[in-house]
C-alpha cells in the first residue's frame, strides 16, 4: 500500500510578474518501506516538494496524503501532532539543539509527544549509530558525521511513517557520507522505514529503490534502478 501520495500538487509563490510556479501538477506514489531519492538542480523545486510532503507548508492546490490522511484538511495543532508522530526530518546542516546532549536530542520528539522513550530501543539505536560512548556529549563536541548520525537517530526515534532527508550528506566528507547512506539504507531494511532523500549526488541517488527527477517544478520518475 502507498504510505505517501500526492495528487496534482501545485505550489505558486508571489503574484503577478513575480509569480513563480515552484511545483506543477505533481502526482507521485511511495509505498511503505521504500527508499526514494529525489534529484534535481538548484531551484528546480526539490525543497518545495519536501516542504509539502513534510507538512511544513500548504500546497496552492492538489493534495498530499500521508498514511491515509490528507495533510491539507488538518488544522495547525493537528498538523504539529501529525508531524511529530509521522515525519522524521534530517537536514543538511544537522540542526541539533545545541543545549541538549546526544541522547536528549534523540528523545526530544518523543517527549514532545508526551511519551516515555523506550530506553531499550534508544540504546539499540545509539549502538547502531555508533554513538553509545558519546551519548552524553553536546553537539558542539561532535564531528559533522557524528552530528548527522544523531540527527538520523532523532528521525528514527519516533518510528515515523516517513523520514525526509534534505541533502543529508551535503556537509559531509565522502567517508562520513558513505556511513550516513549506509545507515539510511539500514533503517529501510531493518526497521522497514520509508525514506525520501533529496540529493545532488547521483551516485548516492542510486542507493535508493526509486529515483525521482525534479526539473522546473515537474517530477519525473527515472524508472526503477538496481533492485
Amino acid at each position: 500500500m502507498s504510505i505517501l501520495s500526492t495528487h496534482n500538487l501545485c505550489k505558486t509563490y508571489g503574484l503577478g510578474e513575480t509569480k513563480v510556479e515552484a511545483l506543477k501538477q505533481v502526482s507521485i506514489l511511495v509505498s511503505k518501506g521504500e527508499f526514494v531519492s529525489v534529484i534535481g538542480p538548484s531551484g528546480s523545486g526539490k525543497s518545495t516538494l519536501l516542504n509539502m510532503i513534510g507538512a511544513l507548508d500548504q500546497p496552492t492546490s492538489g493534495t498530499v496524503t500521508i498514511d491515509g490522511r490528507e495533510v491539507r484538511s488538518m488544522k495547525e495543532e493537528e498538523l504539529s501532532v501529525f508531524r511529530r508522530r509521522n515525519i522524521g526530518f534530517i537536514f543538511q546542516s544537522f540542526n541539533l539543539i545545541p543545549e541538549l546532549n546526544v541522547e536528549e536530542n534523540m528523545v526530544l520528539p518523543i517527549l514532545l509527544d508526551y511519551q516515555k522513550p523506550d530506553q531499550h530501543y534508544i540504546n539499540e539505536l545509539l549502538g547502531i549509530l555508533g554513538l553509545t560512548e558519546r551519548k552524553h556529549h553536546l553537539p558542539s563536541q561532535l564531528s559533522g558525521g557524528q552530528q548527522q548520525r544523531v540527527a538520523i537517530g532523532r528521525a528514527l526515534a519516533t518510528k515515523p511513517a516517513i523520514i525526509l532527508a534534505d541533502e543529508p550528506t551535503g556537509n559531509l566528507d565522502s567517508k562520513n557520507s558513505q556511513d550516513v547512506m549506509n545507515l539510511l539504507k539500514l533503517s529501510v531494511d531493518q526497521y522497514h522505514q520509508t525514506v525520501i532523500m533529496i540529493t545532488h549526488n547521483h551516485s548516492y541517488a542510486s542507493f535508493a529503490d526509486r529515483v525521482f527527477q525534479v526539473n522546473d517544478g515537474m517530477v519525473r520518475e527515472l524508472g526503477a534502478s538496481k533492485r
Binding site: G54, E76, R83, R84, P98, T158
Partner: protein, 655 residues
C-alpha cells in the same frame, strides 16, 4: 531529561551570558518598581511624622464651639480624643508682651504641647511657660511672675510647669502663657478651637458632614488638618486631589516602565531565536508547546530575578530613609530604616510575575508563529524597502556607518523595542522632574541670607553694637544692619554659648529673636520631601542608564554571528567599531527624540494641571541627549571588545 519543558532551563544555562543580561533587566525593572513604591511608602511614613509634629495630631477642628457642641462630639463613639484650645488674648508677663491661652490637658500632647518639667497648671493662678523664656529670664518652677491680662488687671502667678519650645513664638520672642482651666473659665476667650481626632478607620469626610449637619455647624467654622488628611487619603481638598492625580499618573508610569522593560527584554531574546523555534516545530513541537517553553523560560528567569530586584529596591528605600534619619534623628528616631514596605514589595513582585507572564505571552505567540520552513531554509528574511536600496545613506556616510544606521532602521521590530525602551525611561525621568518644584517641596528656608538670630529694638541700635557683634567668634552680621533690625548668622547652629554671648552684649531695650528652631522645622519639612523627590529622580535616572546599557548589550550580543560574518568578508576592527557604534547611536537618538517629545509634552500637561508655569526644559533635554549618546557609546564597548577577541571561524561554524 524527562520532559520537553526541560529544554527551557537547559537553554538558559547554555547561554549564560544572555541569560545574565535578561535577568539583570528584570532585576532592574523590579528594583525600579519596588524602590519607587517603597520610597513612596516611606515618604508617607516620614511625612506623617513631620505633619504630626508641625500641624498636630488631629483631623478636624470646630471654631468657637458651644458647650453643647463639645459635649455632643466628645461623647461620639467614633471620636478617639478631643480638646479645646482657647486664645485668651494678649497680655504682659513681667511687663513684656505675651500670649495667653488655655489647652485641654488631655489633648495637649496631640498639639505637641509637651510638658518638659513640673506639671500642668491645675489651680487658679498657676501657669505653664516655654523653656526658652524661662532660660532667658533665669526663672524656675515655683517662681512667681506678674501677669497683666488684656483688660489691664494684673496679678501674681506661680509657674507650675515648663513645656518644650515652639519655633514660632521663640522666633517672635513672644512667650506663650498657658493658664489653668479655672483661670481660663474666668476669662473671655478671643477665639477658641475644638480639636477632634477620630478613631482609626473612620470615614472622616462623611462623619464630619454628619456632625456638622446634626449640630448645624456652618462650613466656615470647620477647619481641617489638611496635611494629615491628605496622607490618609481622606481629603476633599481640590489642590491635594490634583497632586494625587499627578502622583497616580507618575507612579502608574513607573509600573508601565517596569512592564515595558521586561517585555522588551523577553522580546529581544525571543526574536533572535526564530530558527531554533522553527526547528522545534519541524521535529513536531506544536504552537502550544513552543509557548509553554517560552513561558517556562520566563518563569525561571523571573524567579531568579525577582528576589534580587526586591532586595535592590528595598536597599534604595533604606538609603533614602537612612539619609533622613541621619539628618533628623529626633523627629524620625522612632521610624526604622529597615521597614519593609508591603506596597513596594507587593507591587514589585506582582509587576515582575504578571509582566513576565503577559510579556512572555506575546513573544511566545510570536515564537509559536515561526514557520517550520524557517528551520529548513535557515534564514529570517529582512525586508529591504526600495528606497534604502538606492543608497542615500552610503552617499552621506562611509559604508560602515551607513550599514550601522541601516541595521538599526531596517529591523523594524528591534528598532521599536530599543526606541520604546529608551523613550519610556526618558518620559519617566522628565515626568518625575516636575516634582522637583517648589510647589511640591515647600519653600526651603536655608538660603544663605536666612538669619539664625534677629535683634530688634524700637529705640534704635548703634553701629558700634553691630561691629561688636561681628567681632564675636562664630557670629556673622548679615547684610546692612539698620537701627531697628540686625540679622545674625551663627557658624555653628547648635552653639548655645555664642547665643548667650550675644545675649550678654545687648541691653534690655533690644529683643533677641531666636529663629533657629523655626528655620530647622521648615528645613525638615523641605528635606523630607526633597530627599524622596531627588531620590525618585535619581533612581529613575540610574536605572534608565543601566537599562539602556543592558539593552544595547543584549542587542549586540544577539548579533555576534552577523558581525563575525562581516569580519570574515573583510571588515576591519575599526570599521566594525564604527558600524556598531552608528547602530547603537541610532537607537539612542531615536529613543531620545521620542522620549523627549513625549516627556516634554507630559511635563507641560502636568504643570498646566498644577497651574504652574511651564518653560521648555532646555537643560534637561540637552543633558538627556548627551547622556543618551554617551550611554550608546559606552554600551558597545564591552561587547565589541569581546567580539574582537573571538576567533572568526568559531563564530562562523556555529552559524
Amino acid at each position: 531529561m524527562k520532559n520537553y519543558l526541560d529544554l527551557a532551563p537547559k537553554y538558559l544555562s547554555g547561554h549564560k551570558n544572555k541569560t545574565r543580561l535578561t535577568v539583570l533587566s528584570v532585576v532592574m525593572a523590579v528594583a525600579l518598581v519596588v524602590g519607587i513604591f517603597s520610597m513612596l511608602d516611606a515618604l508617607v511614613t516620614f511625612e506623617k511624622a513631620q505633619v504630626l509634629k508641625s500641624e498636630g495630631n488631629y483631623h478636624v477642628l470646630i471654631r468657637n464651639p458651644t458647650q453643647n457642641e463639645i459635649d455632643t462630639i466628645a461623647s461620639r463613639i467614633d471620636v478617639e480624643n478631643s480638646g479645646i484650645l482657647k486664645d485668651l488674648g494678649g497680655g504682659t508677663i513681667n511687663e513684656v508682651t505675651c500670649a495667653l491661652g488655655y489647652m485641654d490637658g488631655a489633648f495637649a500632647g496631640n498639639l505637641n504641647i509637651v510638658l518638659a518639667e513640673g506639671e500642668a497648671p491645675k489651680n487658679d493662678h498657676e501657669i505653664m511657660l516655654e523653656k526658652w523664656y524661662l532660660d532667658q529670664l533665669a526663672l524656675h518652677i515655683g517662681d512667681t511672675v506678674n501677669i497683666a491680662l488684656s483688660d489691664g488687671i494684673a496679678a501674681d502667678y506661680v509657674i507650675s510647669g515648663v513645656i518644650n519650645d515652639w519655633g514660632a513664638t521663640k522666633a517672635a520672642s513672644i512667650p506663650f502663657v498657658f493658664m489653668s482651666k479655672e483661670t481660663a473659665e474666668g476669662l473671655s476667650a478671643v477665639t477658641s478651637q475644638y480639636f477632634v481626632l477620630f478613631k482609626e478607620g473612620v470615614n472622616i469626610q462623611h462623619t464630619e458632614s454628619v456632625i456638622a449637619a446634626g449640630l448645624n455647624i456652618t462650613e466656615d467654622r470647620v477647619g481641617y488638618n489638611e496635611g494629615l488628611l491628605a496622607l490618609m487619603l481622606q481629603t476633599k481638598n481640590n489642590r491635594v486631589l490634583t497632586f494625587y492625580l499627578i502622583g497616580a499618573v507618575l507612579f502608574g508610569l513607573v509600573l508601565v516602565t517596569g512592564i515595558v522593560m521586561i517585555y522588551n527584554t523577553f522580546n529581544i531574546s525571543v526574536l533572535d531565536r526564530v530558527r531554533q523555534f522553527g526547528l522545534l516545530r519541524c521535529i513536531g513541537a506544536s504552537k502550544k508547546q513552543i509557548k509553554r517553553i517560552v513561558r517556562r523560560e520566563s518563569l525561571i528567569l523571573s524567579l531568579k530575578a525577582i528576589p534580587f530586584g526586591v532586595l535592590a529596591g528595598m536597599l534604595i528605600a533604606f538609603v533614602c530613609s537612612g539619609i533622613l534619619k541621619i539628618y533628623n534623628p529626633h523627629l524620625f528616631g522612632d521610624i526604622s530604616i529597615f521597614s519593609f514596605s508591603a506596597i513596594g514589595i507587593g507591587a514589585g513582585v506582582l509587576i515582575g510575575l504578571l509582566t513576565v507572564f503577559i510579556a512572555s505571552m506575546l513573544p511566545a505567540k510570536k515564537a509559536s508563529k515561526v514557520s517550520p520552513v524557517n528551520a529548513v531554509t535557515g534564514s529570517e528574511s529582512v525586508k529591504i524597502s526600495g528606497r534604502q536600496k538606492q543608497g542615500i545613506l552610503t552617499r552621506l556616510f562611509s559604508v560602515e556607518i551607513a550599514m550601522g544606521i541601516n541595521n538599526a532602521v531596517s529591523k523594524k521590530r528591534t528598532l521599536i523595542l530599543m526606541t520604546s525602551s529608551i523613550a519610556i525611561s526618558i518620559i519617566l525621568f522628565l515626568g518625575f522632574s516636575v516634582l522637583v518644584n517648589p510647589t511640591f517641596m515647600g519653600m526651603k528656608t536655608d538660603k544663605p541670607y536666612t538669619p539664625d538670630l534677629t535683634l530688634t529694638s524700637d529705640l534704635g541700635m548703634t553701629s558700634e553694637l553691630s561691629e561688636k557683634l561681628s567681632q564675636l567668634e562664630g557670629v556673622e552680621v548679615l547684610g546692612h544692619p539698620t537701627e531697628y533690625l540686625i540679622d545674625l548668622q551663627l557658624s555653628d547652629k547648635n552653639d548655645e554659648q555664642t547665643v548667650s554671648k550675644v545675649g550678654a552684649v545687648i541691653d534690655e531695650t533690644i529683643t533677641l529673636h531666636d529663629k533657629r528652631q523655626m528655620n530647622a522645622e521648615a528645613d525638615n519639612a523641605f528635606m523630607t520631601i526633597a530627599v524622596f523627590i531627588y531620590g525618585f529622580v535619581a533612581v529613575i535616572a540610574l536605572i534608565s542608564i543601566l537599562n539602556m546599557l543592558n539593552t544595547m548589550n543584549t542587542s549586540i550580543a544577539a548579533r555576534s554571528k552577523y558581525l563575525a560574518m562581516l569580519r570574515a568578508v573583510g571588515m576591519s576592527d575599526k570599521q566594525l567599531n564604527k558600524m556598531v557604534l552608528a547602530q547603537s547611536i541610532t537607537y539612542s537618538l531615536t529613543g531620545c527624540i521620542l522620549g523627549c517629545v513625549l516627556g516634554v509634552l507630559l511635563q507641560k500637561i502636568l504643570l498646566d494641571f498644577l497651574l504652574a508655569d511651564w518653560s521648555f526644559p532646555l537643560y534637561q533635554v540637552v543633558g538627556i541627549t548627551v547622556i543618551c549618546i554617551m550611554t550608546g557609546t559606552l554600551a558597545v564597548m564591552r561587547p565589541l571588545k569581546k567580539i574582537r577577541k573571538t576567533i572568526i571561524s568559531e563564530m562562523i561554524t556555529s552559524l
